[in-house]
């Protein structure tokens, strides 16, 4: 268990969600185990002892978006609903706690919030997230809250501009740290050189790792597949894309075996895309700026209110189509497959990006990077335009 704490602490830091020295990770077996700064561990322990959960992580966000969101929130509000569909599906809403300067967080009050939800943002302290069963769950919930907070902040900023003293400087730091273009440095692809099952597994695992290393996928989200003949090799549900060795399911197209029931929840989408396009590979990730940009819609006087699910339009973002649809059997597969073939890429409203490769992963990976970089540039362009209005 102690190894698990170190592992997920390292992943949080590698993902850029938190700073290694300021992460407290705790878990309870028959006794409490911990890793991290003592004052945070003490707070975490005081919270965890009041909950029926195995693990807790507590760490300041690597970016100040949590505090900025709280300070921008209207007086009286104590939670926000994630704007992106993935975290909204799994977290519903995220409570936050305001603290006066110098005020210490109350473990009982935080435990009270965590009796109800998987994570909470505490002003001046950071994100506290729990895992009912494992430290991995606490890590996933931390990442989800971080993702939801960042996406919401970026969207809010685009809508409302800066509203706090010093916010422009805080954003500049955020932009410099996080909103940098993704490069293709250090990535290579075997593509046509891939032959046989073991080589396919190895290539999937390698490219999966790239997606995480390049910040295109938070570790436990996203999925990846390779079609060979009548078999789709696809990452398992809940698999970390940077640790796919042993977690890839071969799924026959005729469903003659159901051993792949543990395959990604997006198996249906991958299948439809393969059927529709004849592609060899598919990548799916949730790069943050693509998620943000996918939700921007200029259409006015529209009767659709649940756009992420029921928008009937295929909007066009430069060369990338945007469609609606929810995860798994929620309709995403039917919407993406018909539109992705032409340019090998598609955005799903508030959710993420699908890209495909005809020969291997090179085309799919490049497309994923291009989409995110284009969305980054577009976001900054729109933000600048929005901020000029305030001048």
């Amino acid at each position: 268990m102690i190894r698990q704490l170190a592992k997920y602490k390292g992943k949080l830091a590698a993902d850029g969600c938190a700073v290694s020295e300021r992460i407290a990770f705790l878990a309870r077996d028959d006794e409490l185990l911990s890793d991290g700064p003592q004052e945070l561990v003490q707070l975490g322990a005081a919270i965890l002892e009041q909950l029926s959960a195995v693990s807790l992580v507590l760490a300041p966000l690597a970016l100040p978006v949590g505090d900025l969101l709280i300070r921008r929130a209207p007086v009286g509000e104590s939670s926000f609903v994630p704007r992106d569909t993935e975290t909204r599906t799994f977290l519903h809403d995220i409570p936050f706690v305001r603290l006066e300067k110098g005020e210490s967080p109350d473990p009982a009050a935080l435990a009270q919030l965590l009796r109800r939800r998987k994570g909470v943002i505490v002003e001046g302290v950071g994100i506290v997230a729990i895992g009912a069963f494992t430290p991995e769950q606490a890590y996933i919930h931390y990442c989800s809250v971080f993702h939801a907070a960042l996406v919401k902040y970026l969207l809010d900023l685009l809508h409302d501009g800066f509203s706090l003293a010093g916010e422009d400087e805080a954003f500049a730091a955020l932009r410099d740290a996080w909103l940098q273009p993704v490069t293709l440095e250090g990535v290579t692809f075997a593509d046509k050189g891939v032959a046989g099952r073991e080589a396919i597994y190895a290539e999937i695992a390698r490219v999966g790792r790239y997606t995480v290393e390049k910040g295109l996928v938070d570790s436990a989200f996203g999925n990846i597949s390779w079609r060979e003949g009548e078999t789709i090799y696809i990452s398992q549900t809940g698999a970390h894309l940077d640790e796919l060795e042993g977690y890839i399911d071969p799924v026959p197209s005729d469903n003659s075996s159901t051993a792949g029931v543990t395959a990604s929840s997006e198996l249906l989408a991958h299948r439809r895309i393969f059927e529709e396009t004849g592609a060899r590979t598919i990548l799916h990730g949730h790069p943050k700026l693509a998620v943000v940009i996918s939700m921007l819609c200029e259409k006015s006087d529209c009767s659709v209110s649940d756009c992420w699910r029921n928008c009937p339009q295929v909007r066009q973002l430069e060369v990338t189509p945007i469609v609606a649809g929810e995860i798994g059997a929620g309709g995403l597969a039917e919407k993406v497959a018909p539109v992705i073939g032409e340019r090998g890429r598609a955005l799903v409203f508030g959710h993420g990006v699908f890209t495909l490769g005809r020969d291997g992963f090179a085309e799919a990976f490049n497309a994923l990077v291009e989409v995110e970089n284009w969305c980054r540039a577009e976001y900054l362009r729109r933000l600048e335009k929005r901020l000029q209005k305030d001048v």
Partner: protein, 580 residues
């Protein structure tokens, strides 16, 4: 009162008196309903023999019954098991549960023993007892056909329940069953052949908007779950979708758990069943998943545990024989897992497992307690003890193990032993994380951290069984969504943590009853085979015997995490008296 009706119907079969009684609101709020309420209602009688006339047989609905909460048209039947001697409950879905709640009660409590076979007819207008001599001896399907109308549902026993087969089921007209622990024999001992219920009284809902919000959240999660709504999931193939997976994971119990891979398992996989029987979706009333499967003619097709145990466990590769065995067990009112596992233990005893053609004759003999069937009807533990080979019973606390070999999933190994009703996979359902990767994957070949995970899962599942919801819904959703729904229905605020604490109370109450009835640490263990014999290793998967010292260490951790002494006893002997 919202959600609950606040009353139960007590039927005393000895005197023929039926009377309504109020249920204290504090009991409903503290135990919810279903399993929890049933366990609370046994507070004064848990020590009685299962066949004592005064031992209650409780049919308890939950606060979500009769609402639009997904998977919640269910009930729990609670009593003491004649097979295991433990406190016992079983959750069952279908219209019977829906109509029982619709009859205007939260629970039906049956005590006493009728002098003659009898039938209970129940509606919002009241209850009547009628003679059932003509139905006594009838199989289940004939009984249901004779009694059930479009506006009524039937729960009845078959010949197995009448004759006291220790793993006799209570069957329900829509194909659901109250299985495993022999509560059909408890009902038969009371000479109650059937219950016919009608009613459409719905509970009031405190906050319909909140209920609807929780419902929508839950449906989104169901759709996001590959196990539920994926192309290979249980909505498509039913639980036999697990056949291929268990084979691939090398943990399908074969030939009385001597091996863990059955080469012919593909004969009865989900796709094989669909192809052979053109199976269609079927399932519990009010459930969006519809994981049951039936033929176009309406014959219910077997679940994963049934196909695997009538298949691999007995070395049978013939799908049609397996389906026939399933249908026959249902008609005779007999649990398929225990029946198949008992046949398998008998097969190992005699040195030959039953053939595909032989099985149905043996099942009939078992249900009617004729010839060889007399000893088979007592279950594998009594059968093998009588033969001087108790190690051949693959059971915990006398309950035969289902089709998940514990050498392939160490959380499952621990959970079989800590389960309050004996060797059951559903009390903590570690298959969800050790195999199906939900809500998060865990290392199936490691005990690390499993003690607390099992404890939390047991508490959670005790709550689910008390709401009463289906455990499969937790392959997508969680207590967060059920907490929202329950709060919306009842108007009382329940957080997921509140619900786990309720589950903990229910679990500990059951353990308290069991310990008071003579169970102890020595019963919280696996058959010796699992500690001494390896499973079927291969294809890069090693299936060694379980390290007994490590198992014992994790079990001790589990006791400590539960707040028990190191040998699994209560630190406070008066603990029960402090509970609501």
């Amino acid at each position: 009162m919202n959600g609950w009706h606040g009353r139960l119907l007590h039927v005393d079969l000895s005197s023929g008196v039926c009377r309504y009684e109020a249920i204290p609101a504090s009991w409903l709020q503290s135990y919810l309903g279903g399993r929890g309420l049933g366990v609370r209602l046994l507070r004064e009688t848990y020590h009685l023999d299962p066949f004592a006339p005064e031992m209650p047989l409780v049919f308890a609905c939950g606060p979500l019954g009769g609402t639009s909460a997904p998977t919640s048209s269910r009930l729990a039947v609670v009593s003491r098991s004649p097979l295991t001697g433990t406190i016992y409950d079983c959750s069952a879905g279908g219209r019977f549960a829906h109509r029982l709640k619709g009859a205007g009660i939260d629970a039906l409590v049956i005590t006493g023993q009728s002098a003659q076979p009898t039938l209970l007819r129940l509606s919002p207008a009241g209850a009547t007892l009628e003679p059932a001599q003509k139905l006594w001896g009838e199989r289940f399907h004939a009984t249901a056909a004779a009694l059930q109308s479009a506006s009524e549902s039937v729960a009845a026993i078959g010949p197995a329940g009448e004759r006291g087969v220790l793993f006799a089921n209570i069957m329900m007209g829509e194909g659901n069953s109250v299985g495993r622990g022999g509560l059909g024999a408890v009902m038969g001992n009371k000479r109650l052949k059937a219950i016919v219920v009608s009613g459409d009284q719905r509970p009031t809902i405190a906050d319909p908007e909140r209920l609807q919000k929780g419902r929508q959240d839950m449906m989104r999660l169901f759709k996001a779950s590959p196990i539920l709504f994926g192309q290979l999931g249980i909505a498509e193939y039913g639980t036999p979708t697990l056949v291929d997976l268990m084979t691939q994971r090398r943990m399908a119990p074969t030939e009385n758990f001597r091996r863990t891979v059955f080469e012919a398992a593909a004969n009865y996989s989900g796709p094989a069943i669909r192809k052979a029987y053109q199976s269609k979706k079927d399932g519990c009333f009010g459930c969006p998943i519809q994981c049951k499967k039936s033929t176009p003619q309406g014959e219910h097709l077997p679940e994963y545990e049934t196909v695997s145990h009538f298949g691999a466990l007995n070395g049978i590769a013939d799908l049609h024989s397996i389906v026939k065995s399933n249908t026959l067990c249902n008609d005779l009112g007999m649990d398929t897992i225990s029946a198949a596992a008992t046949l398998s233990a008998w097969g190992e005893l005699r040195g030959r497992f039953p053939s595909a053609d032989e099985v149905q004759k043996l099942l009939l003999a078992m249900a009617l307690r004729q010839g060889e069937g007399e000893s088979l009807a007592l279950g594998s533990q009594r059968l093998t003890r009588a033969a001087g080979r108790p190690e051949f019973s693959m059971s915990v606390k006398g309950l035969e193990l289902p089709a998940y070999d514990p050498r392939g999933a160490y959380g499952m190994a621990l959970a079989y032993c800590t389960s309050n009703r004996g060797g059951c996979h559903l009390r903590a359902y570690p298959i969800s994380h050790e195999i199906l990767r939900k809500p998060v994957p865990t290392d199936r070949f490691s005990f690390a951290g499993k003690a607390r995970i099992i404890k939390i899962a047991e508490d959670t599942n005790a709550t689910i069984d008390s709401l009463v919801a289906c455990k499969f819904s937790f392959l997508g959703a969680s207590l967060e969504e059920y907490g929202t729904i329950l709060s919306g229905v009842t108007g009382h605020d329940y957080s997921p943590q509140d619900l786990k604490e309720i589950g903990e109370r229910i679990y500990l109450t059951e353990r308290y009853y069991n310990l008071a009835n003579g169970f102890s640490e020595k019963d919280d263990t696996l058959p010796p085979r699992f500690f001494s014999e390896a499973g079927s290793s291969g294809e890069g998967i090693d299936v060694p015997p379980i390290d007994q010292a490590r198992f014992n260490e994790e079990r001790r951790k589990y006791y400590r995490i539960r707040g028990l002494t190191d040998d699994g006893s209560f630190k406070d002997p008066a603990w029960l008296g402090g509970q609501p």
